[in-house]
């Protein structure tokens, strides 16, 4: 609180309030009051609550006060509207599961001034009822039309007519307004000009500012980008999406700092990846697995919330629940704790699943008086990482230097590549369509949305923790994460890496059966039913983006011998993908691959086909918007651009041209001629603050 007041004061002094810090379009997404929750628990404890209805919350798991369960037990009628049989629902007297969000009507204002209508995309699969409907029913509301087919739809629509319709003047009838809002998905209501000023009465109590503790180790607890505080934990796609920093899956790990002793990179107290330790904090002990993390501040460790689930779905049994460790202070849950103790147990986690085992692109440290790349010193080879043409980066003040360097690099690569004895087939790709992609590493924030979108679009199977541990993950698109800069305080660059669709593809000529070949539109394509699985292509891929179906992951043609090895939900006898409910996630436009074949990014060829058909139907040339790949659609920062390279007006061409010499192909000099280009990473950090 004190910190927030100080920040507001600084903004006030700088004249930022109502200027760059605007208050008229605030986000409504994260609201809550720890003190009210505390008060509720107290009331339940005192027997003042007769009925409790839980909806979209799971306090039995994620409320930090251990007192919740005992207090909740004192409530006579406990009703859960949650969609799964989670930890809280298990404690309830009644379960009245609500529709899934995709089966529901509703409305929301995620951001002030943006009112959106929630519309079902599928008829309810099970005999559930809309949560709001249940509440209206139980409240015996006069506004509920029980005779309607979709009572809550009628309710929402009536509410829009009475409450929202009057705030606009564009549409004259409520019906037109509703139809258009539903069509657009959102109704934008110009936010009222709200001006704020700093209340000088809020005295800045600097004494209340948290002070650095003198304890040896401080542990912080954080929500991950994939599963939040656990609310999305039961989605296996999100479980298998690697953590952007740790690159781990299916579990939470205690991140400990990395230390450089002049010879070797070591974990704090010589801890190693996968080692199980006992974390003692706040008078409690948990066992968790360690991962050494570059950039973890010395003297701190961190571990994610949301794991260690006991019930509710596939996440049960992975990782540890750290919620019981959290402390309530001054009415707020504190997400860090001091005076933590870590004791190695001598055990090692057998299923330690991390998809990236080399983490850096040259991080620097001192060796005697010299500054060296310490990871390269460990590899006993200075330059072994930094001289690779994978990542180019610079500080903005050295941009000119990097541009010159990259011009030279392009020239040198061009010279080397011109020495080939073989025909380049350039003439094939000069006309018609030639698909290409451009990834702006400056925009990429490494969130992983593209990866999940790809998994969802292309029926990429979930393989489970054990298989990821064996490096059998199937993701077509991965986000390589490299640290660089100072060893103890590194910077990070994310590089989405998918099939580069090389025009001189090393994978294509080595396939003995022609299962992978090049289309006239520059796509490196796979004929799954021709593939016999020699995996020569995967070996010869410089980018290692080809994935092999080591087992029958999707149960496309169920191999009884494989059944035990492929991914199962907790306590489930049938493999995950053999469940008909799960199979509903499969995209009917994309082949489900069988055991023993190679697969990889197809540039969403099914979407390309669809786009071509749309253009054909409308008798026009294909345009950028006709084809958007799944990763491109999902990227929140617009880092991925896709389109026709032969169209000078296409977005992808323009983006590449804008980047000038900073646009490059990864491993440009090995003459594989990729169809994907990246931009060099230019960071704008104040070097003085970093050093």
């Amino acid at each position: 609180m004190a910190e927030q007041i100080i920040v507001n004061k600084i903004n006030d002094i700088l004249g930022n309030l109502n200027n760059t810090v605007a208050f008229n379009a605030v986000s409504n997404q994260r609201q809550g009051d720890d003190r009210k929750m505390e008060a509720l628990v107290a009331e339940m404890n005192n027997g003042q609550v007769a009925t409790a209805i839980v909806w979209g919350a799971n306090p039995a798991y994620d409320y930090s006060g251990a007192a919740f369960k005992a207090a909740f037990a004192k409530v006579a009628t406990r009703i859960s509207l949650n969609t799964t049989l989670d930890e809280t629902t298990l404690l309830c007297t009644h379960a009245a599961p609500a529709h899934h969000a995709l089966e529901s009507w509703g409305d929301a204002e995620p951001k002030q001034g943006h009112i959106s209508i929630i519309q079902p995309t599928i008829a309810p699969l099970f005999s559930t009822r809309q949560a709001e409907h249940s509440l209206l029913e139980w409240a015996d509301s006069a506004n509920l039309d029980r005779n309607s087919d979709q009572p809550y739809y009628q309710y929402v629509r009536a509410a829009w007519t009475s409450a929202v319709f009057n705030t606009q003047s564009r549409y004259s009838t409520p019906a037109a307004f509703w139809d258009m809002s539903l069509h657009d998905g959102v109704f934008e209501n110009a936010p009222s000009g709200r001006s704020v000023s700093f209340n000088s009465a809020a005295a800045v109590n600097t004494g209340a500012v948290s002070q650095p503790s003198s304890s040896e180790l401080e542990v912080s607890f954080y929500e991950t980008v994939n599963i939040g505080n656990g609310q999305y934990a039961h989605n296996p796609w999100l479980q298998e999406m690697p953590d952007p920093v740790n690159r781990t899956v299916w579990g939470n790990y205690l991140s400990v700092p990395v230390e450089w002793d002049g010879k070797d990179i070591k974990g704090w107290r010589n801890l190693e990846d996968g080692q199980i330790v006992e974390l003692e904090v706040n008078g409690q002990k948990i066992r968790c697995t360690v991962i050494r993390t570059f950039g973890q501040t010395p003297g701190t460790a961190s571990i994610a919330l949301g794991y260690g689930r006991e019930a509710g779905g596939c996440a049960a049994g992975y990782g540890v629940n750290v919620n019981p460790l959290l402390k309530n202070e001054g009415g707020f849950t504190q997400y860090y704790l001091t005076d933590a103790k870590v004791t190695p147990t001598g055990d090692v986690e057998k299923d330690f699943a991390c998809v990236q085992h080399h983490h850096t692109m040259g991080v620097q440290g001192k060796q005697g008086d010299k500054t060296v790349n310490v990871d390269e010193a460990v590899l006993a080879f200075q330059g072994s990482l930094t001289e690779r043409s994978i990542i180019f980066q610079t500080n903005v003040k050295d941009l000119d230097k990097l541009e010159t360097q990259m011009e030279e690099f392009h020239e040198h690569s061009g010279y080397l590549n011109s020495k080939t004895l073989y025909p380049t087939n350039e003439e094939y790709f000069g006309t018609g369509l030639k698909w290409g992609m451009y990834v702006d590493l400056n925009s990429c924030i490494g969130c992983g949305a593209c990866q999940v979108a790809c998994v969802s679009e292309n029926n990429v199977p979930v393989v489970g923790k054990n298989e990821v541990m064996r490096h059998h993950e199937m993701t077509w698109l991965r986000i390589d994460r490299y640290f660089y800069g100072d060893v103890e305080n590194p910077k990070v660059v994310y590089q989405p890496m998918m099939c580069q669709h090389c025009d001189n593809a090393p994978c294509e000529n080595v396939c003995p059966v022609n299962a992978t070949n090049h289309s006239m539109e520059g796509i490196n394509q796979m004929a799954y039913n021709r593939c016999i699985g020699t995996r020569y292509c995967a070996n010869n891929c410089p980018y290692k983006v080809r994935r092999f179906n080591w087992l029958d992951y999707t149960t496309a043609d169920l191999w009884p011998a494989n059944e035990e090895r492929v991914f199962h939900g907790a306590g489930d006898d049938t493999p995950f993908y053999a469940d008909n409910l799960v199979r509903m996630v499969l995209n009917p436009d994309v082949t489900v691959r069988t055991r023993g074949v190679i697969e990889k990014c197809s540039f969403c060829v099914q979407r390309i086909q669809e786009g071509k058909l749309t253009a054909k139907r409308e008798s026009r040339a294909i345009q950028d918007n006709d084809v958007r790949t799944a990763c491109q659609t999902a990227c929140p920062t617009g880092a991925i651009v896709f389109g026709n390279l032969n169209n000078p007006e296409s977005e992808v061409n323009k983006a590449q041209k804008n980047a000038g010499a900073l646009a490059y192909q990864v491993l440009e000099e090995i003459n594989v001629r990729p169809g994907v280009r990246y931009s060099a990473k230019v960071h704008n950090a104040n070097e003085e603050l970093f050093s």
Partner: protein
Amino acid sequence: MSHAVAPVRHILIEGNKSYHNITEDLVSPTEKSPTREWVVAFTLSAAFLAIGEWGANRTINWAYDITNFVWWIGIGHAGTLISAILLLFRQRWRTGVNRAAEAMTIFAVICAGQFPIFHMGRVWLAFFIFPFPNTRGPLWTNFNSPLLWDVFAISTYFSVSLLFWYTGLVPDLATVRDRATGFRRKMYEWASFGWTGSAKHWQRWEALSLVLAGISTPLVLSVHTIVSFDFATSVIPGWHTTIFPPYFVAGAIFSGFAMVQTLMIITRKVLRLEEYITLNHVESMNKVIVLTGTIVGVAYLTELFIAWYSGYIYEQFAFYNRVFGVYWWSYFGMMFCNVVSPQVFWSRKIRRSIWWTFFLSIVINIGMWFERFVIIATTLARDYLPSSWSYYRPTWVEISIFAGTIGLFFVCYLIFTRVAPVVAIAEVKSILKVAGDQYIGKNANKKHH
């Protein structure tokens, strides 16, 4: 059947054998019940037959499978070299070991051939790899792919080796037939294609042998050259090197001779053929081993030099990683077993020592296995993109399959020693010093069997 005597030539067969002795000694293993040593060896070998799944991963897509494939193929090479090239060079001592070496080639190729098939994702579609007229388009194989070249190279190699081996066997099978009775006689009659030993038969047999030797000779060089193309034509640093063909061929002959030594030493002991497979044979083959081992050593050093000289970071790192990376132990295992250990064969005493030879022949084959592992797994483990660097460990299944092929190899070999003469009878008879020591020497009075 008199034979020209070369006065300066050492005797190649010891024990003052007559033609009858030779027939008796060499055919009898197929007639008598097995010796105790054979039973022990067979039981040990049979215990190693097994099957299951791989520990390879998204980065290291080949490991045990192709390592073992190349290892076995390499081993096969000595057989062809002995039977074809040494025949053309008129190295007559080869007659003592050529039959067994050829059999070794056949069985090694059988073992090798299993790996490319097992390693496929969809084994049941393995036939896609053959170019045959079909209703799928017609859909042809990719003639650019080194794997397809392998298919041709290895199938040619196997057929020619098999023909060559069997051609040599025909007169000897007839000898066995002549001594056999009942059902055995029927079987050998069928197997020897009605060989009568007429001059016409011998003439045709000689001609065919020569033709097959001529066909086999280039195969000694071409098969492993093509196997090396699997790696040399790729873009992976550490694989993409022009030195691979000669280096692979030398390595193949090296490991093949080591395996011949292992087998011959077991054979002469188990079948009591010390007088046919003599110390001179052992010594000659050790000379080949020290030569090819040295060639291989020079190749290793050349690789390192060229990596440094290339000034190419990926290549330099690939070799640095081989020597000092996570798999350093396999590099040092390879260096020690293949380059250092055979150098002791410069000593004549060690060259002629059965125990040293047996021990080192096994060391060398371990070393040559390491070599293939270094080339395949170590290279793939750390290639271009550090994000994908990985580590490979074989699963028990992979180890079992490998052990299974070793078992299969020895089982096949030991069965072979029971059903066919393990030394080429007809050819050995041709090198006997008929007019020499046999009758006029100090042992002339030795009693005949």
